[in-house]
């Protein structure tokens, strides 16, 4: 993602170039995930997928402020964070296909896509599992003293795991360069959020002396601006921040849910209401109405992404399976560095 030189100025708004670039990133996530959904239902994926569709503005608006040296931790719903942080979707798709050329060699699958070279410490199948990992990475960043920052993405359901409180306390106490991004998408698995969560999640950050902000998570610019401030604080040694992004999970908790749930847990109207609040539509509407780009340019972006999706799927299909006996050798990096 291109960065402007005035990145740390407060109260900035994204440039037109940035908006366009973020639009492309959001659409990339959307189209790749739509394809993964199809692939799942076509029986092409060995495991399940949790799709991020509808939440793209959060990952993209936050990660727009990050470089490769910055780090993120993600969740079971991690494809969007992976792509937003600059991960290559091709080996990501291959990973989800369980192939040798997958970013994790087919060992991790959808819930574990990671590219450490890009600072993507990984999706995580353990709810809130990424939060303390991010705190540890933020400690490392602080010790390195070179302005790196760390973002942990987690859901509203994850906010009820105690490690959140623990990590907020440590982050505030040590003034770690860590940004907590809670994606409040309405559900904790199949439970509507308010049936499992007391009060407002962002308020839980304040007792630690941490700034906490609620943003419209379907408004790319709002997310971008909140993240701008938070990342700036973290980079300049002013400690952690908390962003709660209100958004909505358009697809099921996981694509397989229709196969095993005996009843639905939300109304079609609710989903429809949120579909009309689609973050990508909102952004493209803005791009067009502000004449930042034309319909033709958007179509060109669509076409480009469409090709990339096809290419990635073909790549994944063509990739070999990993050696069946590969796993054991991956458990340990090797003997002690010098004892051997």
């Amino acid at each position: 993602m291109p960065q402007d030189s005035d990145r740390t100025l407060p109260n900035r708004v994204p440039t037109n170039g940035q908006l366009l670039s973020m639009f492309e990133r959001m659409l990339t996530i959307r189209r790749f995930e739509e394809r993964l959904g199809e692939d799942f239902h076509a029986g092409k994926l060995p495991g399940g997928v949790h799709l991020y569709i509808g939440q793209e503005a959060v990952a993209v608006g936050v990660c727009a402020h990050l470089d490769d040296r910055d780090r993120i931790t993600s969740t079971h719903r991690g494809h969007g964070h992976f792509i937003a942080k600059g991960g290559d979707p091709k080996p990501m798709v291959a990973e989800i296909y369980g192939k040798r050329d997958g970013i994790c060699g087919g060992m991790g699958g959808s819930m574990h896509v990671a590219d450490v070279s890009k600072g993507i410490l990984g999706a995580n199948g353990i709810v809130a599992g990424g939060i303390p990992i991010a705190a540890g990475a933020a400690l490392a960043a602080q010790l390195d003293g070179n302005g790196r920052v760390v973002v942990c993405f987690f859901g509203d359901g994850a906010a009820n795991e105690g490690v959140l409180m623990e990590s907020m306390n440590i982050a505030a106490l040590w003034q770690l360069p860590l940004i907590f991004v809670c994606e409040h998408n309405g559900f904790s698995e199949f439970s509507p959020s308010d049936t499992v969560t007391a009060g407002e999640i962002r308020e839980r950050a304040r007792p630690f002396g941490m700034p906490a902000e609620l943003v419209d998570g379907n408004d790319l610019v709002a997310v971008w601006r909140a993240a701008d401030t938070a990342v700036d604080r973290a980079r300049t040694g002013q400690g952690p921040s908390f962003i709660e992004a209100a958004t909505y999970r358009i697809r099921g908790h996981l694509e397989a849910e229709a196969h095993f749930l005996s009843r639905s847990y939300r109304s079609e109207e609710e989903v429809e209401r949120w579909r009309r609040n689609d973050p990508i539509d909102r952004l493209s509407g803005h791009l067009l109405s502000s004449e930042i780009c034309s319909e033709a340019e958007i179509s060109a972006i669509e076409a480009k992404i469409g090709e990339a999706v096809e290419e990635a799927a073909a790549f994944a299909e063509a990739s070999d399976l990993p050696d069946a006996d590969r796993a054991p050798a991956l458990m340990f990096a090797g003997g002690p560095a010098e004892a051997a």
Partner: protein
């Protein structure tokens, strides 16, 4: 008798026990809608006081089970995937398994922890662990691992009516095995292995999901003129040591099939028990078929490669009979 899937049998047991005893309560993440189907219909039938969804807060849930159980309730706590037992491990290991001793026996803890375990469905490393070895080592927990719908129902009922904590692990992916379930009320005792099949040449002790491959292997072995006795542990704590020893006394050979990782597995423990108490009857080395000490990979072939299966069991038994240990 009716043919049912393992998950359905467990669901039946929960319905029956909750109807029978108003002190039985059930909670856990999304138990109302029921991800696996084992808790389906309970919320609708018994209401939100007795069946309720919880926040994702495993560390508290296991502690809460202890607190509610010390107050006269029989708690069924659903932990969804067995890996999340680790997330709530503290209160299991430091409270649930120890509190009765620490209080000098003042309390009973009628708690049943339910979770789905095991691999084979590409759920990857964080959703396919087989944690019974750890739980067995804690000392204060019963551990039930049913292989058949019949036993799943009977063991669940026994667990719920018990006076001590039981971890009940279900190999329930895609509904689990099918099998006949009696219509009438019954309880399956803890600590009694089931003889899946009688035999005279070798004893195959199998656990949970491994019983079916063991039975298949025994059938194939039969074709090769090898008579295998298959024992299904049903509970690992208490373990039917005598039953296993009796069988080995007859056959002289033991193969243990276990979906857990090898080191300090249930298979290791069963092997150790027999190497001590049944040594005199052993005519051959004790073989363990387990998962190598590896987290589960996602790619199906890589995962399958690690899991015991009928072919591996046949090879192991044949080698044992031929006098080679491989």
């Amino acid at each position: 008798m009716a043919r049912k899937r393992l998950i359905q049998a467990i669901n039946d047991a929960l319905h029956e026990e909750m109807a029978r005893d108003p002190k039985v309560i059930l909670f856990g993440e999304d138990v109302e809608i029921s991800m696996f189907g084992d808790t389906a219909g309970l919320h609708e039938r018994f209401g939100p006081d007795r069946v309720r969804n919880t926040p994702i807060s495993e560390a508290s849930l296991t502690g809460m089970a202890v607190g509610a159980a010390t107050s006269g309730y029989r708690v069924v706590l659903h932990m969804m995937f067995a890996n999340f037992i680790y997330t709530g491990f503290d209160a299991i290991a430091n409270q649930m398994a120890k509190l009765r001793l620490m209080t000098g026996g003042q309390i009973e803890l009628p708690i049943t922890i339910v979770a789905g375990y095991g691999g084979g469905r590409s759920t990857a490393a964080q959703h396919s662990d087989t944690p019974y070895p750890l739980l067995m080592n804690l000392g204060g927990l019963n551990v039930a691992v049913p292989a058949t719908p019949r036993d799943a129902k009977g063991l669940m009922k026994t667990a719920i009516r018990g006076r001590d904590p039981t971890v009940f692990l279900e190999a329930g992916g895609r509904g689990g095995e099918s099998g006949e379930v009696p219509d009438e009320e019954y309880l399956t005792p803890f600590g009694e292995a089931a003889v899946g099949r009688e035999g005279t040449d070798v004893t195959i002790v199998a656990i949970g999901s491994m019983v079916r491959p063991a039975m298949r292997a025994a059938k194939q072995l039969d074709g090769q003129g090898i008579s295998a006795e298959v024992l299904d542990c049903r509970t690992l704590v208490p373990l039917d040591e005598d039953g296993i020893l009796r069988s080995v006394a007859k056959t002289g050979r033991l193969v243990v099939v276990d979906e857990a990782r090898d080191r300090c597995s249930a298979a290791s423990h069963i092997a150790a028990v027999v190497a001590e108490r049944g040594f005199a009857s052993l005519a051959a080395p004790i073989r363990r078929l387990t998962v190598p000490d590896t987290a589960m990979p996602y790619a199906p072939a890589a995962e399958k490669h690690l899991l015991p299966n009928p072919e591996k069991i046949v090879v192991a038994v044949s080698a044992l009979m031929a006098g080679s240990a491989n």
